[in-house]
Symmetry: C2
Subunit: 383 residues, 2 copies
């Protein structure tokens, strides 16, 4: 017999601070796991006594219930009080499902095994769906685009402050100085963080990585910054008012860049331009990514392992951006078809120890006939 | 046949920024999911090309491998290249397990269902273990206690700055003013955040909630702060250098507190003192929690639902504190036996709309014969 929509529910038991899907569906920010149950077109939250008042005020779901009332009914029926962890939550979700005639539960790939095992043991069919689990979240409304644009403006303000501070540093003995003090990655990050906090953003930990540190794209950078070598600055704050993100990277050289570094910079800028020129609704992210590889291939930049580490271009070209810093769709090896309303980063990079790492990143809104670059900040290499 | 230790592995596929267990086991900070495999006493990480160099430098596991090498062997054997999500990770984990003769995998209750389902479909026994999944993390070493102490010092600095700003505000028409401007929760949080950032801490979003806002313990507070009513200030930063947390709450009244509010404050202070007096190795967190309830009962403070919302004392007395803000053990209704080396919060509170909310929170180290209060900041109500 075909599975009926009315007998299937979309279920969450997680916190909405870390789970962007759940926040998107509820507009309710919870640091601890909450029960979300959606069936027959009705979206319901079940909250503990600490959260229920706030949930009624702040969330936009159809109904907010006391989880305690459900737990009471479980206890009446089974003689056992559900605990507060995932097994207790499963008992409550089972009760909610039975009351609504639901036997099949759809969960995200991230659903905790403890919850799924308990629900299956209780006789429910639990199936996980691959990302995007809440596909409607990937295509941004005009309102969401404005929120991302706002976050991008703040990102640019922090980037400008960082570049100005590096640009004002004195060059001595291959290092950067402010008076007698060396200018460090940590100090520039402090400038970034302070700027973002004043603008109501959560900064996460930005990357300010100079020289060979910049060749490891996940090294966030530490210690004295070098003169005459590329410094990668990657900033990806969350606007705390809207919860949307910006994500931008610039690479600068304080002083004089080597000819090799300049050529790398030109190649990365050309790859970014080629990717942006390719981007439009209907194109696969894979084809956009291929543009970057084509530019690098044409200019002879190889991606390979040297002395046990990767060099060249060894990450994706970009990723979706919104309530999460990384979200669907990818702009890389996967065949994700771009649609009008996707907001994605475009961030090719080249990394060669000795020369340094160069990455440039903007955020673009995919449209029917191309894309709109949400970033306005110019890209300057030598400062 | 009995399950052999050598044939069972402890496995993670998650990011170590959000998963404190994984960070504890590896000392490697990764924002994206990484594969951790521990069997026969050997701890191994499998990282993508973006992370593998940094992993070798920064982690403290026994071996760091390229995940790509495992994926190559999966592809050789099966003809299919594993993808980057949980299903691909499961294929790699299966390969790793087979190479080590492991058939049973222990995972945390938070293990993603997609990973577990794929591993089970591949013939592995996957069992989740309840928290604490990494029990050794709950008992802090002397070094860890010093790191928490450091985070607590920073927490106190931010608390002091917040209280000073509120204390310096002028009182007019029942509100707080700085010159012509009302003093808001947001402004005081800005002071807290700025102080914490300067000290190298990640502030999260502190709570600064006045009057009835403070009666909803998860309301973080917004808008103008009231004079003559309790203002709850709850700060729980992460020290970014050590990744350990502090967690403190003070409640202040700028101006004159009502007699009812003073009595509530006295009751909460007495409950906190009673809980601390009870705390020592061997005692259950439940018995410490009962001390708070006893104090409130004796003074006639009822916990109940009034007009559809909870009033009184309706949360736990405390929780473990360390790499996570909330961790094992609980000091509440659950029967968690306290041990020497546990660091827990003690944070009773009473919440009555009309009077306001009062919560006081310190962090203590449980010892054989009592506990050491890691917090030094005095508790002043009227300022």
């Amino acid at each position: 017999m075909a599975q009926q929509d009315s007998a299937t529910a979309r279920v969450f038991f997680t916190d909405s601070e870390s789970d962007a899907d759940l926040y998107y569906l509820t507009h309710f920010l919870a640091g601890d796991p909450i029960v979300y149950f959606e069936s027959g077109g009705k979206r319901e939250l079940f909250l503990n006594d600490l959260e229920v008042d706030r949930g009624r005020k702040q969330s936009n779901v159809d109904d907010v219930h006391r989880l305690k009332d459900i737990a009471d009914r479980v206890e009446e029926r089974t003689g056992q009080r559900p605990g507060r962890g995932p097994v207790g939550a499963a008992a409550c979700i089972g009760e909610i499902a039975r009351e609504r005639g639901v036997r099949y539960l759809d969960v995200s790939a991230r659903c905790p095994i403890a919850l799924a095992d308990a629900l299956r043991a209780d006789g429910f069919g639990v199936a996980w769906k691959p990302d995007p689990f809440v596909p409607e979240r990937a295509l941004k409304t005009a309102d969401e685009v404005e929120k991302i644009r706002g976050a991008v403006r703040h990102t640019e303000a922090a980037m400008t402050a960082a570049i100005e501070r590096i640009g004002a540093a004195e060059i001595r003995d291959g290092g950067l100085y402010e008076g007698e003090t060396t200018l460090t990655s940590e100090e520039v990050k402090r400038t970034i963080n302070r700027t973002l906090m004043e603008l109501g953003c959560h900064p996460y930990e930005a990357i300010v990585a100079g020289g060979d540190q910049g060749c490891d794209p996940h090294d966030r950078g530490s210690g004295p910054l070098p003169a005459n070598l590329p410094i990668i600055i990657d900033i990806f704050p969350r606007d705390l008012t809207t919860r949307y993100h910006g994500d931008m990277t610039r690479t600068v050289v304080r002083g004089k860049a080597s000819d090799e570094a300049k050529a790398v910079f030109e190649a990365v800028a050309a790859a970014k331009a080629a990717a942006i020129a390719k981007m439009r609704a209907g194109v696969s992210g894979r084809d956009v990514h291929a543009e970057c590889n084509r530019v690098f291939d044409e200019r002879g930049y190889k991606t390979e392992q040297r002395d046990g580490r990767m060099v060249g271009f060894f990450h994706g070209t970009g990723h979706g951006l919104g309530l999460a810093v990384h979200e669907y769709p990818g702009v890389g090896q996967a065949d994700h078809k771009l649609g009008a309303g996707h907001v994605v980063t475009v961030e090719p990079g080249l990394y060669y120890p000795g020369i340094g790492g160069v990455r440039i990143e903007d955020d673009v809104l995919v449209t029917e006939d191309g894309c709109e670059n949400l970033c306005q900040l110019e890209t300057v290499f030598e400062i």
